[in-house]
Symmetry: C2
Subunit: 68 residues, 2 copies
């Protein structure tokens, strides 16, 4: 499922930033529990929120979707 | 706005397939008026629908987001 794939990818990249879920969610102004459910692949996340996460990770959308 | 950027990109790539909005929407099993509003940048499209469109275009998600 695409939601699980993108969730795993986000978790992988967020972990590399050294930030906890809570700190990262705070950084991008996203609710922590919502962000946690995205990483778990439980959300059919929208493009606006995907962009917010890519910005927080400081990567392009194309890079975020690499190998997905 | 990201919704306009992705809409323009989808329109550009869909046009290259030679399919009309109607035929393309039919191909991917999406409502034609919904698909038209995506191309117009009026929808905060979800990842499940983005994947459907990428599959219809026969490109990867990373390719779809190239230069966005």
């Amino acid at each position: 499922m695409i939601t699980a794939k993108i969730g795993n990818r986000i978790r992988e990249l967020r972990t590399q930033t050294g930030l906890s879920q809570e700190k990262f969610a705070q950084k991008i102004g996203m609710d922590r529990t919502y962000f946690a459910s995205v990483e778990l692949g439980k959300r059919n996340i929208s493009i606006v929120n995907i962009e917010k996460i890519a910005n927080g990770l400081e990567i392009s959308l194309s890079e975020l979707f690499k190998d997905i």
